[in-house]
């Protein structure tokens, strides 16, 4: 049977992983490269094995094998095939298999590279990768087996088990429960795999960091080897977060994209350490500083990634009082504690070898500004950790209240939580500080910048941004100081970044007597990392513009309308024209309203907000009608309607200024990451180039 086959593949890959760990350590300790090669082969073997396991699940999902608990839980007969395939990550057991498969794919890709220069890293990279993989496989096999089946006997009770219990027969339900309709959205289909891609690829720089710590080859080689991996991991992680926001905006019908839900915070946390890591490794490469810091960052990132995998999928955080609800909770926390302890012990052993060779000399030097940037990111991380763990902390602190009655009214053991207000208030100024740093840092110099040199570079962008701010204030009704400050920061960063591009391109154009555009192109091509980074910064600013727009200027209203009546919100209004209710052939009942949208009294189009009711899962889903432009989104929800008797319908409308810059900015952001991660032409090894040159000379 296919289920047994898939289960077997999982068990064998666990055995192979354990063998690989043993072989790699034995080979390394006893200087026997044959054993290390064998470990590498074991590593490579996990990929086809896990491919078989994942393929088995997909085949079972696609062929309606509802006797499997997992297939029953996440699919139903009415679902189209592509949704059944993506149901692989529709539930916890399947997503863990998918996770393991990705890990195996990436680590196999890494072990296939040319290792001649870095032979000593190989066994330890294999060990870290396989330990991670083995941990996930144990979880899957012991607690989250996707191949569990239903069995039943004469008593009629249904038992869930992997293998046939004595005297029971296989039980096949007629249809499955189906995927939650809220998840049947393109954003939700791509969002989890992207987030997982990001999470999984973060294992690679961590594995190299640990290899560097164990072998004592603590120069920046591990960073150079994994730079591109980290960048791709970071891109996927960022995209996963952005798409999750887009899904919430399109599907959840509350006019927002980010709610500081603990699950969202859990996915954000690894990003909050990966981003400063990307920045501070540059300091190590250029100035041989921050070596301890980089090690710490990648270790924390790895464990936050494991924590994020657990928190985002297990659902433990969505319930009010749940932290150890599922059996795998203690496993995850145990694994995090152990890996953290071992990594930190290794780090402390190499502490003296990782001494900085440079020294901070000025607050205005680029390395100091990078350090501040790192600290601000870590501050945001601390805010997030505080917010996520605060409820547990307050409950635990009841002990303090019992011991000291004088403070019993504060530490009363009552669980206290913090909502979005906490996160917005605490991180708002920190995000603003990051924007400001993004503006200043590109103008600073390594080692030392004086206030004067830095100031000289800032004159033009500062003047331009102040002029732009005055223009915004003159042509709009924005008066809140926080909004004005935020808008000024955005202008400032944009102008600094453009100024950097123009200044350097103009210099190049003059030096090589080139056309300005050609010079700009060559410039970006010559130093992809730097200019790719600047493009990413521009993308981030555009996203900030969208966030400022929706967070600070969102307005909303709601009303119940008779046919032909209108509802106004700011410069917009809607007129309720008609409503139709009908069944579709994919088992939905759709109530769809037609409203005409007016802007400044002029008709600008129609919107069709609707409510789909899924018979099969007995669940409605609200789909907004959205009129999107660069200026704003006008977002209409059909809240309620009276069938037949009266023709009233209730609408809720949101005006979300500038929000599309958030999505637009993310495209610029992706483009910038591609520029930064694209292989440099001159990165080719020396001998090959000279051979090519010789060949060219001969020709």
């Amino acid at each position: 049977m296919l289920a047994n086959f898939g289960y077997g593949a999982l068990v064998i890959s666990l055995a192979v992983s354990l063998y690989g760990i043993g072989a790699a350590i034995y080979g390394e300790r006893n200087k026997q490269p044959r054993w290390v090669d064998s470990a590498r082969n074991a590593m490579l073997l996990t990929f086809p094995l896990l491919t078989l396991a994942a393929a088995s699940i997909i085949i079972l999902l696609v062929t309606n094998r509802f006797e499997l608990d997992y297939v029953y839980s996440v699919t139903s007969r009415s679902m189209p095939t592509y949704l059944r395939v993506t149901a692989l990550w529709g539930g916890q057991p399947g997503s863990l298999v998918f996770w393991s498969w990705l890990l195996s794919l990436f680590t196999s890709a890494v072990t296939l590279r040319d290792w001649r220069r870095d032979r000593e890293f190989l066994p330890w990279v294999i060990v870290v990768a396989l330990v991670t993989l083995a941990f996930f496989l144990v979880l899957i096999i012991a607690f989250e087996n996707p191949f569990l089946r239903y069995w039943t006997g004469s008593s009629g009770a249904v038992v869930t088990a992997m293998f046939q219990p004595r005297g029971l027969e296989l039980f096949t339900p007629a249809d499955g429960r189906g995927l939650n309709p809220l998840l049947r959205h393109p954003g939700m289909i791509i969002h989890p795999p992207l987030l997982y891609l990001g999470f999984v690829s973060l294992t690679i720089p961590f594995a190299f960091a640990i290899a560097a710590l164990i072998t004592g080859r603590t120069d920046d080689r591990w960073i150079r080897l994994t730079r591109r991996w980290t960048l791709w991991a970071w891109l996927f992680l960022s995209l996963g977060l952005i798409l999750g926001g887009r899904w919430a905006y399109d599907v959840l019908g509350w006019g927002g994209y980010w709610g500081w839900d603990p699950v969202e915070v859990a996915a954000l946390m690894p990003w909050l350490t990966a981003t400063p890591f990307l920045h501070s490794v540059m300091i190590q490469e250029k100035r041989n500083m921050f070596k301890h810091w980089n090690m710490l960052l990648i270790i924390i990132t790895y464990d936050l990634m494991i924590l994020g995998t657990f928190l985002t999928r297990s659902g433990v955080l969505s319930s009010v009082h749940a932290f150890a609800q599922s059996a795998i909770g203690p496993m995850f926390f145990g694994y995090i504690v152990i890996t953290l302890a071992v990594s930190l012990a290794l780090l402390s052993r190499r502490w003296d070898e990782l001494k900085s060779e440079g020294e901070l000399t000025s607050w205005l030097s680029r390395e100091a500004l990078f350090l501040i940037n790192n600290l601000v990111f870590i501050a945001i991380l601390v805010v997030c950790l505080w917010g996520v763990f605060f409820p547990i902390l307050t409950e635990a602190l009841g002990i303090v209240g019992q011991a000291f009655p004088s403070v019993a009214h504060i530490f009363n053991g009552q669980k206290v939580t913090v909502g979005p207000l906490f996160y917005e208030r605490a991180t708002g100024p920190l995000w603003a500080a990051l924007l400001l740093l993004m503006g200043i840092a590109p103008l600073s110099a390594w080692r030392a910048s004086t206030g004067r040199t830095l100031g000289r570079g800032m004159v033009a962008p500062t003047i331009a941004s102040v002029v732009a701010l005055i223009a915004v204030a003159a042509f709009s009704e924005v008066r809140q100081w926080a909004a004005l400050l935020a808008i000024w920061l955005c202008f400032f960063v944009v102008f600094v970044t453009l100024y950097e591009f123009i200044r350097a391109a103009a210099a190049r154009a003059a030096a090589h007597s080139l056309n300005f555009i050609v010079a700009l192109w060559q410039l970006a091509g010559r130093n992809r990392r730097r200019y790719g980074g600047y493009i990413i910064h521009l993308g981030v600013v555009l996203m900030a513009v969208g966030i400022i727009g929706i967070e600070m200027f969102q307005t909303e209203t709601q009303a119940s309308l008779k046919l032909g009546e209108t509802l106004a919100l700011g410069r917009y209004s809607i007129r309720y024209d008609s409503l139709a209710e009908f069944d579709t052939n994919d088992n939905r009942n759709v109530a769809r309203a037609v409203v005409t949208v007016f802007k400044d009294g002029r008709e600008v189009g129609e919107l069709y907000p609707r409510r789909d009711y899924f018979y099969e899962s007995d669940q409605p889903m609200t789909i907004p009608g959205v009129r999107a432009s660069l200026e704003d989104d006008f977002y209409v929800l059909l809240v309620d309607w009276q069938p037949i008797s009266t023709q009233n319908a209730t609408f809720k409308v949101y005006h979300n200024p500038l929000v599309n810059w958030l999505w637009l900015g993310s495209l610029v952001f992706i483009a910038g990451t591609f520029v930064a991660a694209w292989p440099e032409k001159d990165a080719q090894p020396q001998p090959e180039r000279s051979r090519a040159a010789r060949a060219a000379a001969r020709a």
């Binding site: 239903y150 207000l421 889903m621």
Partner: protein
């Protein structure tokens, strides 16, 4: 080196201030229905987060004012207690069917949530008013029977 220590301490102080002040501004007490009602007048006006089981027949919605009212029954919040009652789905079922459970009337203004139904778990953020009604600003719903593994019954065949 001193200027870096001073600068670092300033940054640290700023972050501590941000976290502390925001915690005070954003704190919400977790209560069960019993705990909230047990605190009497003391609980009135305190920002609180309540978890309860939705009683289906009490759900009323006025689309003209978008005012939703419903009652929730007390349910245990502790995981161990929930497990004793046979998991979330069963605990919710027992809370709704047990007439002896304390009940709390909830008012919420906004669109009717898609997941609101009998025996859903409601997690409400808001304040208890002097009239004994809980005014929720935020309403989250969970329907465990729909998502969590539960073996299908024979009737499904």
């Amino acid at each position: 080196m001193n200027k870096f220590v001073v600068g670092g301490l300033l940054i640290l102080a700023a972050v501590v201030y941000l976290i502390a002040s925001s915690t005070i501004a954003g704190a919400q007490y977790f209560f069960t229905v019993d705990e909230l009602l047990g605190r009497g007048d003391e609980a009135v006006g305190t920002p609180a987060r309540i978890s309860g089981a939705v009683i289906g027949e009490t759900i009323q919605y006025d689309p003209d004012t978008l005012t939703l009212t419903f009652e929730v029954a007390h349910m245990p919040a502790d995981n161990e207690l929930l497990n004793d009652e046979g998991g979330l789905a069963l605990a919710l079922h027992q809370a709704v069917t047990d007439p002896g459970r304390a009940r709390l009337k909830v008012v919420y203004v906004g669109p009717l949530p898609d997941l609101l139904q009998n025996e859903a778990q409601a997690i409400m953020t808001g304040r208890l008013d002097a009239d004994g009604v809980f005014y929720a600003d935020e309403l989250l719903l969970k329907c465990p029977t729909r998502y969590e593994e539960a073996a299908p019954d024979q009737a499904g065949q």
